[in-house]
Amino acid sequence: MDYEPILTQNVHKENSRSIATYEQSGGYSALRKVFKEMSPAEVVDEVKASNLRGRGGAGFPTGVKWSFVPKNTGKPTYLIMNADESEPGTFKDRLLMSKDPHMVVEGQIISSFAIGCELSFIYIRGEFYEEAQILEAAIEEAREKGYLGKNILGSGFNHDIIVHRGAGAYICGEETGLIESLEGKRGWPRIKPPFPAVEGYLQSPTIVNNVETLANVPHIITRGAEWFKNIGPEKSPGPKLYCLSGDVENPGVYEHAMGYPLKDLIYKDGGGIWKGRELKAVIPGGSSVPVLTADEIDINMDFDSVAAAGSMLGSAATMVIDDTACMVDALSNLTKFYAHESCGQCTPCREGSPWMMRIVRRIENGDGEPNDLDMLLDIGTAIQQKTICPFGDAAMTPVTTFVQKFRDEFEYHIEHKKCMVSRQKLMPQVA
């Protein structure tokens, strides 16, 4: 049975961004249903029942997160859409915002209603300038149609959305870093507890949800939690946007039901490894998750199956590495990313990330020493679970898993002071 696109159903249509096109295929009917027939608690229950799990990377059940918002605090509640998409390999939210902004906006309004939020934000990474403009235009169209503003559709519920551009910081994708950035400060993540649902933006209850997560909400409302739960595995259901990039013939975003086989993603959708080469390694869910060898790709891409295989679904950003690429070089590339993006607030990450980067670079340049590898693993352990936010874990995971699974390449570099494989260096020496 062929899969019918749900999230990307409009992206190839002409004028897909306009509200007219969106409404033509049933857009905003979910919003109408919510305001006509449902209470906020009912919306929360429906989303809970659907088992929708966050699409930003952590996979936390969305409905459960919404239910953490305390009632009657006397403070406003805020919903922030996390459109900071900066995890290397991820580019799905951009597609949604760029080609079907109204689906995203509708999801945001419904979700805000569910948690009692009257002013919500879209925190979008600064580099997505065009997408921010597109969202603003869509919001304006929605306002003109009466889907935003005061007393929406006679419901008594007011709502407005502010599009807030970031300015270039990966750590602002972490929910408390995002909140700090929204407050106008440097994006230094906060210690938890307290959790944002209780004390977030301006010390008020705040929910942060990924773009794709919110884009699912109108569909759950229209077609029901049961329907949703039956797409893919029950504990990790729903349509999923998979991002395929790297050494494949056809990189791009592919929508399938959750649980799609990784092998098919690479060889069917992706057209297999490019230039007639062979697969060597795959990072299934964005650079922060454990790498898989070519022997380990026989898995289904849903949260629980990938976790069982020793990695994580994360943002479903699958990066494919072929057998002509040097793993040491690839790791050097990634450690530089993390060293560059470390916010600098806490000791292990601030000092440890650049340290790991320098050691890997030294190995890449032929100056490695035999005990460097165990030292790298040890530094990784010293950082793991010791930091304020998960960035520390994200930074050490590629280091630890690359060294563990491709140790021979690292040892070759150390012993022979050069690459084991053929491709020219990925990146130049200069930092």
Binding site: R186, I191, T347, R350, W355, R358, R362, K386, I388
Partner: protein, 554 residues
């Protein structure tokens, strides 16, 4: 109340107390950098991590609050939390945190002022590794001046951000911030601005390593060579509790002592660097008598004899109303008490006692945390006036101008009080002026006889601050000339008038006598006053500030 087991010991605590607070209150050392009792908790240094039963990850003890658990979640049926700061996991983490801090930290101990009072040294020794395995190049940045008082050595900075939080939350001036990101993070100021608020010097105290250093103390001496005396700052009537650090009979620096009721953990820069004024003053080392050709030396015996002769002559010829005296708001309660006794009982003075200088005008300068600097630049106005039993209607200068007072005993001991022309003319009308001072001040210059006493750093006794708090002041310096301590001079004069009029063996005996005889000072003996001072019984309770709650973590 919540019950916690920490390192095997049980403690009952108020719900909401953090694990680190429990440790600190009970003498258990959990190493930490970014935590400071008066600043917002940030949990960023990761040094204080502990292992908690039931939690998979280690947690920072500075932010971990102890709450009462429902029965079924209590550990062993009775503990709300069980924590260890000594487990293997914790020890391993402490080692790695220190390793991370040291990889870019320069091996500067031999040239760094912080040595001997450095948390990084101390914790490395106790909790760290003996060897480094860092082979890369260290991050190097040049040192900078953050402001006129404070210098920053970026290479030594461990980014605990205490200084940034201090400037924002305590001083309220927010000149400091973090600039850049990650590896390149450093403490900075806005271009064109600098760290120049009046509490700036405190950041040097709270910096746990040798990154922030005082320009004043730079390279002066090793801290283990310092003799430390607890004392009171003489700069204004707040009376911040301080420590005076001396080497070779010279003050090297003064730093604050904690007193939650007065100055909390802080002192202002005016007070901190006040001691320099006294260094630069040219001391008078012998009694001096004015002759036609200027001041000449005279022996103590000669001086006291001259003084008593002059006063008794004038008293006999023009009556007791012709004698007057100024007590000093720079001298201790004991000194002023003895002065009052000598003047009234010894010389028969009734009303003509006053206090110099007169009241200062203005409002206190108050900082965000409540710390204040008072406009009254004398340390003991309240105490001196209590001891002198002043009649508020008496204007000594007026009585001099109209030739009523012809002989005056002027206690000074302060600094930089310039007389107005009016005041000088009044003094010049006197037949005989005795000034007790430590340098050739404006006032001393008018004297017929100068008795050399001590500066404020050379006094022992008690002083009463603006709140009415009686606090101990202790001598940190010992003058090397022929000066005598001020209370000694007064006793010597009194005993010359009548044998054994004052036979106290130490200043503290005077304190005891004050506690028996002066209204409001009942019970305030040396031991009662202690190291934190005590309010007079009749103190008018003013706003006591200086304490921020500091904690913003739920």
């Amino acid at each position: 109340m919540a019950l916690i087991k920490l390192n095997g010991r049980e403690f009952e605590v108020e719900p909401g107390t953090t694990v680190l607070e429990v440790a600190r209150q009970n003498g258990i050392e959990i190493p930490h950098y970014c935590y400071h009792p008066r600043l917002e908790i940030v949990g960023s240094c990761r040094m204080c991590m502990v292992e908690v039963e039931g939690m998979p990850k280690l947690t920072t003890s500075c932010s971990l609050r102890i709450n009462e658990m429902p029965e079924e979640r209590k550990v062993d049926g009775k503990y709300d939390m069980v924590v260890s700061s000594e487990s293997d996991k914790v020890k391993q983490t402490q080692k790695s945190t220190l390793e991370f801090l040291l990889i870019n930290h320069p091996l500067d101990c031999p040239v760094c002022d912080q040595a001997g009072e450095c948390y990084l040294q101390d914790y490395s020794f106790k909790y760290g590794k003996a060897h480094s395995r860092f082979k890369e190049e260290k991050r190097v940045r040049p040192a900078e001046q953050l402001g006129p008082m404070v210098r920053i050595n970026h290479n030594r900075c461990i980014m605990c951000t205490r200084c940034v939080r201090f400037a924002k939350e305590i001083a309220g001036t927010a000149e400091l911030g973090v600039v850049n990101r990650g590896y390149y993070s450093k403490i900075g100021v806005v271009e064109g601005k600098e760290l120049d608020n009046k509490m700036a010097g405190n950041v040097v105290d709270i910096c746990p390593v040798g990154a922030l250093l005082s320009n004043d103390f730079l390279y002066k001496t090793r801290v283990w060579n310092l003799e430390e005396t607890s004392s009171i700052c003489p700069e204004c009537s707040v009376g911040c509790n301080i420590e005076v650090h001396v080497k070779d009979n010279q003050i090297q620096r003064t730093i604050p002592r904690i007193n939650e009721e007065v100055n909390d953990h802080w002192m202002c820069d005016d007070g901190r660097f006040e001691y320099h004024k006294y260094e630069d003053a040219e001391r008078i080392e012998n009694p001096l008598v004015k002759t036609d050709s200027g001041f000449e030396r005279i022996s103590w015996t000669g001086a006291i004899k001259l003084l008593l002769e002059k006063f008794s002559t004038i008293s006999r010829e023009k009556g007791k109303e012709a004698i007057g005296g100024f007590g000093s708001a720079y001298m201790t309660n004991e000194e002023n008490y003895l002065f009052e006794k000598m003047m009234r009982k010894g010389l028969g003075v009734t009303e003509n006692l006053g206090l110099y200088p007169g009241e200062f005008e203005g409002d206190p300068e108050v900082f965000k945390s409540g710390f204040q600097i008072n406009p009254d630049k004398t340390p003991n106005r309240l105490g001196a006036s209590d001891m002198l039993n002043l009649d508020s209607d008496v204007d000594l200068f007026q009585l001099m101008r109209n030739n009523t007072i012809k002989a005056l005993f002027f206690l000074h001991g302060g600094y930089d009080n310039n007389l107005s022309n009016d005041e000088k003319l009044a003094l010049r009308k006197l037949d005989f002026l005795v000034v007790q001072d430590f340098y050739l001040s404006d006032i001393a210059k008018e004297a017929d006889l100068i008795l050399p006493g001590g500066s404020v750093y050379e006094r022992t006794g008690t002083m009463t601050n603006y709140q009415g708090r009686v606090q101990k002041i202790q001598q940190g310096l010992y003058p090397e000339g022929d000066e005598r301590p001020d209370f000694q001079i007064i006793m010597d004069i009194a005993n010359a008038m009548r044998k054994n009029m004052m036979d106290y063996r130490s200043v503290w005996e005077v304190t005891s006598e004050i506690s028996d005889s002066v209204k409001g000072y009942t019970g305030l003996t040396r031991f009662e006053v202690g190291d934190s001072g005590k309010l007079k019984t009749n103190a008018v309770l003013r706003q006591t500030k200086a304490k921020t709650s500091g904690e913003k973590v739920a």
